[in-house]
């Protein structure tokens, strides 16, 4: 049956939040890009029940081949069953590379699969490419995003990586594209469900304004007071920006928890980040890895946040905020 030779790059089909989260499509696009150098086939691997619409979507977004396990027992994302299936398929078909979206589920699923296959896994990659020896070179943040580590898995296969949503660009929908569909039977004796899902309710979609904003204004304790912090909203309105906050600000009640930018809050990737009165604790800076141009304002020129910035403005954050509001009113034409 398996007539094709050559290697395969697999993308795990994570469709649970399909309309909000396009990470699988983004990974298919990246896999297409990687496949050119090693002439590999781009394959999506999807588990679930009644999942043909996703199969069609993956075909239209760059998959050459789609492995489908469609069975009522797989209706809910279930870690033990999904890991066992992925392990089995990897052992049977030896993919060269396996890419998994860095969703909550993906981040639990990928390490387990890698462990069973005794292979390497790099999490939260921001860049992937194939080097001249055909090895997948993975760049991922370390030490709170202040450092990037370049990582390879030389001798074991598959080479595995997770990637957070939004890192790569999906390919446009191609109605003409056709993929080979390989339907696979679920195992006759599925593994025992050791972690049982008792309830799984979709919550109202989390607000993603902050994560997707082109400009973010983050405020820290340097804004002085709740009233001082509120000024940032005025500036944000003028710029069409979203306001983020550090943990001390949220704890002081100057901002809601929804605004928390950091390890326990939101990851942001704006084109321009303004950081007002933020010292730069690692729990906060860890969430700024994806930020483009960074402008930091702080009285203390030695604050970590100031060292991380493209432009460091040594001044009182509140005064600069007010001055910017004035200046922008002059500069923005009605």
């Amino acid at each position: 049956m398996n007539d094709e030779t050559g290697s395969e790059i697999w993308v795990f089909g994570d469709y649970r939040n399909y309309f909000q989260n396009r990470v699988t499509l983004q990974l298919l696009a990246k896999a297409r890009d990687l496949s050119r150098k090693i002439s590999a086939r781009v394959c999506a691997v999807v588990f679930g029940c009644g999942i043909d619409e996703y199969v069609a979507e993956y075909a239209a977004h760059g998959a050459d081949k789609i492995y489908v396990v469609d069975h009522p027992g797989l209706e809910r994302y279930q870690i033990d069953a999904y890991v066992a299936l992925m392990e089995r398929l990897c052992r049977e078909r030896s993919p060269e590379i396996v890419l998994v979206g860095g969703t909550g589920f993906g981040r639990e699923f990928a390490p387990r699969v890698a462990k069973r296959l005794k292979t390497g896994l790099t999490s939260d990659c921001i860049e992937l490419y194939i080097d001249d020896e055909g090895i997948l070179v993975q760049t991922a943040p370390a030490f709170g995003g202040n450092l990037m580590a370049v990582i390879v898995t030389r001798d074991r296969r598959p080479q595995m990586a997770t990637v957070r949503p939004g890192m790569f660009q999906e390919l446009p929908h191609d109605y003409e594209a056709r993929a080979q569909i390989v339907r696979i039977d679920p195992p006759a004796d599925p593994p025992p469900e050791r972690l049982r899902v008792i309830r799984s309710d979709r919550r109202p979609q989390t607000d993603r304004k902050l994560e997707d904003a082109r400009i973010v204004i983050c405020g820290g304790r340097g804004m002085g007071s709740k009233a001082g912090f509120r000024k940032l909203f005025e500036l944000a309105q003028l710029m069409g920006a979203e306001v983020g906050a550090t943990r001390p600000v949220v704890y002081s009640g100057w901002a809601n928890h929804d605004a928390l930018v950091g390890q326990a809050g939101k990851q942001i990737k704006p084109m321009v980040l303004f950081s007002f009165g933020v010292s730069g604790a690692i729990q906060h800076t860890a969430a700024l890895t994806g930020a483009g141009f960074v402008i930091a304002v702080n009285k203390n020129p030695d604050a970590v946040m100031m060292k991380m910035a493209d432009v460091a403005v040594v001044a009182d954050a509140k005064q600069v905020c007010s001055a910017m509001i004035k200046e922008l009113r002059k500069r923005i034409r009605p």
Binding site: Q20, L195, E327
Partner: protein, 265 residues
Amino acid sequence: MVSELPWDSKTGALKRELAEGMMNPACKCALEAALQIKETHGAHITAVAMGPPMAEEVLYEALALGADKGVLLSDRRMAGADTLATSQTLAAAIKTVSPDFDLILCGCRTIDSETAQVGPQLAEELDIPGAADIETMTLKDDLLVMERLLDDFFEVLEMRTPALVTVSTSGYTPRYPFFTGIEDAFAKPDITVMGTSDIGLNPDCVGMKASPTRILDVYSTTANKTNVVLKGAVKRIVADLFNAYGDKIGGAMGKDLQTHEHESS
């Protein structure tokens, strides 16, 4: 920010010692969860750390907070371990020190490499049920009922002990140690330092030798920033800021900020 690259370019290992001496925020939450279980059900808590000798500090902290015993896995041969090797080492230590454990609690991630991989891989290595990013849990006999919010789904999960949970930072608020706890921790610390052979592992099964991944390079994301410093009168700075970077800021806003008559400069 670390002033020195915490990476040895010769061996390719991350130098964890530069980040040691503090307990990870998520691990503090995991310890808090353990302490709450101890208070309601009674338990013996063993805190396990792996790292250079100075990582012992976090075990003192754990003892001061209420852990009963500390185990430090410290052996040069363990250096450069990736998550696969780390999970194998931790599993061997757990089987040696506490083979009849009921529950393993881990922080959901660390703040140095924040892979969030060790917990799930440790569950695999120990061949026990596991759940990640748990916000709350209650224990009834050997049944653990847990809640988490994952990918916009609110989930209630169940598993039987022995099991492994990685604890998120949003459910538990770590306590501060009482002075008496700190005194006790330093007066009679029950901390054991163990090496590769103490946990019955072959040297080939730990550290870099047992790690499929290799770090080729580590670079600073801030090194290539020009880091322009602006100082002086606020009004002047702000005008300069928009004059120099108005294109970048305006581009992101989708507005033109460039054409402006400078009436007051």
